[in-house]
Amino acid sequence: MGRQKRWALGLLAAMLTLTMYGCSGGSKGTSPAGPGASGNEPASEGGKKEKVSLNFIRWSNGPALDAEEKDKVKRFNDSHPDIQVNMTLLPWDETFKKIELSLASGTPVDLFYWDVPAYAYYKKGLMANLQPYFDRDLDMSDYDGKLFEPFKFDGQNMYVAPENYQTLVLYYNKDLFDKAHVAYPTADWNWDDFLNAARKLTVKQGDKTVQFGTTMSLGAWWGWMALSQEQGGSLTDNIHDPQKLTFDTPQTRNALQFLQDLIYKEHVAPDAAQANALGGDFMTGKIAMYVGGDWDLGTLKDTKNLHWDMAPMPKWDGKRVVPYWMGGYAMTSKTKHPEEAWQFIKWTMTDNQETLAKQQSWIPVSKSALEKAKLPEWAPKGYEEARFAWKKDAVIGDIYQLNWREAQDKVISPIDDQIFANKISVEEGLKQMEQQVNEILAKP
């Protein structure tokens, strides 16, 4: 074999492996999920209308919640003989990649379940304006219009149809509170009360902490943003396309300092390594309390031998701000069947709301459906107050900006890591964050 040829072979091998990796990245996890399949239904019998198939992509929330979603789609299909919704459940990351590719290839999905990365589609004009349908078909008095405002991306028109809310609550382990003779959290708690309780609930054996008062569950940006907002601070006054965010403010410094101190000054919360060591933390009874999403209820309600309850998020000097998020549906602007797609969206916002309320996995957006629903058997004492009385203190926990995800990945997470590893001061971290995030946001 001549040298020339071996050369060529090496080149070939390099190309092959390179492209193979590229491909395997692309096809990972695209399992053929979703009920039924085919996109081309045959024309139905007699003089009936042709059945319309809609492709719908949503992200998966694990087996229990996915089962509810599959059931939802099935009930819709059963009650709407002319429409067939084909749902594809994908991991979160895959979902947006898949939607992007469907948009790029000119065969867009009809419907998708919204999350923040999809804001880019709105910016490119790929999401349908739902306001005309809202005006025509929905009785807005059944909803909290104010809470829907964030989805008016242009200030006037709804682009996503909200189906449910999510929020933060304070979870606590009653047994650990009893054992330490600490009074249960109340709706009047300030963060000082929280810290005092956490001190009493931290248990050491020798120099090793075997039980922590709390965790670093508010360490992500939306967590400390909420603490900053409770003091009247904010990252921006406009969550739609902010060109500049402010991080280096006294309120945000206080918020982050409070969290960093939980680990390194008060020793009531585990650092990353210790958190790792505690394993299932709250579930295994080694954490006395934490502020977490109400989506954790799905897991908590099935735990045995864990006596837990919940309370509203603590206040900062008497003022409470609770971040909330919305789950909802969006339609691509290029769908061939906007009317049928809207039928599905409308159904989730109206007819299905009572079922949603009954299931108790998500907070329904319909006020009347919520009133009719009974409290579930597993609901602890503080359930109603913590889960449903947050609306007056609610502030959206999102920021919509094309480069926001890049800013989170490249700047906010690494600096967060350093602050909570005590490698950088809060002040220095926020200074860097403000400068570097704004550089990214300013990119065209």
Binding site: Y21, Y121, N276, A277, P414
Partner: protein, 304 residues
């Protein structure tokens, strides 16, 4: 018939066979890969967000790439990983192959067991190792504790995030081990016998017979190892999400994020091409150096 025989000489026949055997790979390459590669070359000169049409911007992506500290960080991480994992893998898989190249009863069982990890899913393996390297109750620090070493905070301390991924890479040595094993079995025993008669000990036989006879196989494993290592992705994607503080931000992971998370397909394509040229460069260097150390039986030229 006569004419045909003339045309189909022995060497032509061999060449034909060679191309027939290669054809599935070549056809696949042309149909499925050349197109995307050409497209990515074009995209690397455009601003392309997948959602809209690409716009030509010349060399801007490459210029931005030079100024982007994270690109450099990602190449640094990738090169450190490669420089450590490739030699380690070569040595360990050779040692394993030597161990398994014995005629003991049931040796096939051991060969299968050692090869098994190489065919297991990358994601499952990544999760498994994450537990093994858990700083407080993982097997690794428990074992280190037994010999009185206080294990580091694997994956959590940014200086100790990459080493476990390098150690993990050994899990996949089964593939190259198998190639070594085939190579070892192809070494004629008369060479060892001759060596023994000439008074060479086991180590000298290994050094002067096994290694040179195995050099084409080492060469092959080195090339595929480097190509594979420079494209490491799953570990950073599944286990560490590139963190802490970008300590495990591999180039392909950064490329992936640019393409699908930040919607900068053009920039991602530029990274892909730089990575490709880097891989090409390493491959060429090794090919160029091969006459110095690779010994092909039957080609006396290379042995000089």
């Amino acid at each position: 018939m006569n004419l045909k025989r003339k045309w189909l000489t022995r060497s032509r026949r061999e060449a034909l066979d060679c191309y027939i055997f290669m054809s599935p790979a070549i056809i696949g390459l042309v149909i499925f890969m050349l197109g995307p590669m050409a497209a990515s070359a074009y995209f690397s000169f455009t601003k392309y967000d997948i959602l809209g049409a690409p716009a030509w911007i010349g060399l801007d992506n490459y210029k931005a790439l030079i100024k982007d500290p994270l690109t450099w960080q990602s190449f640094k991480v990738t090169l450190i990983y490669s420089a450590a994992s490739v030699p380690l893998g070569l040595v360990v898989s050779l040692l394993l192959a030597l161990l398994l190249n014995r005629s003991i009863k049931g040796i096939f069982l051991f060969r299968t067991i050692f090869y098994l990890p190489a065919v297991m899913s990358g994601v499952a393996v990544a999760l498994l190792w994450k537990w093994i390297f858990n700083p407080d109750f993982g097997l690794m620090n428990w074992a280190l504790g037994l010999i009185g070493i206080h294990g580091p905070k694997w994956f959590i301390d940014e200086h100790w995030a990459l080493p476990p991924i390098i150690i993990m890479s050994l899990w996949g040595v089964g593939g190259s081990m198998l190639v070594y094993l085939a190579g070892l079995q192809g070494i004629p025993t008369d060479l060892y016998e001759a060596g023994e008669i000439d008074g060479a000990g086991a180590f000298r036989r290994f050094l002067h017979i096994t290694i040179p006879m195995l050099s084409p196989v080492i060469f092959f494993n080195l090339i595929t190892g480097i190509i594979g290592a420079l494209q490491v992705f799953t570990e950073g994607f599944i286990m560490t999400a590139g963190g802490p503080n970008n300590a495990t931000l591999f180039s392909v992971l950064y490329l992936y994020r640019n393409a699908f998370d930040y919607l900068q397909m053009g920039y991602a394509s530029a990274i892909a091409w730089v990575l490709f040229l880097l891989i090409l460069l390493f491959t060429l260097i090794i090919f160029k150096s091969s006459p110095m150390w690779v010994f092909y039986e039957g080609s006396r030229r290379s042995s000089k």
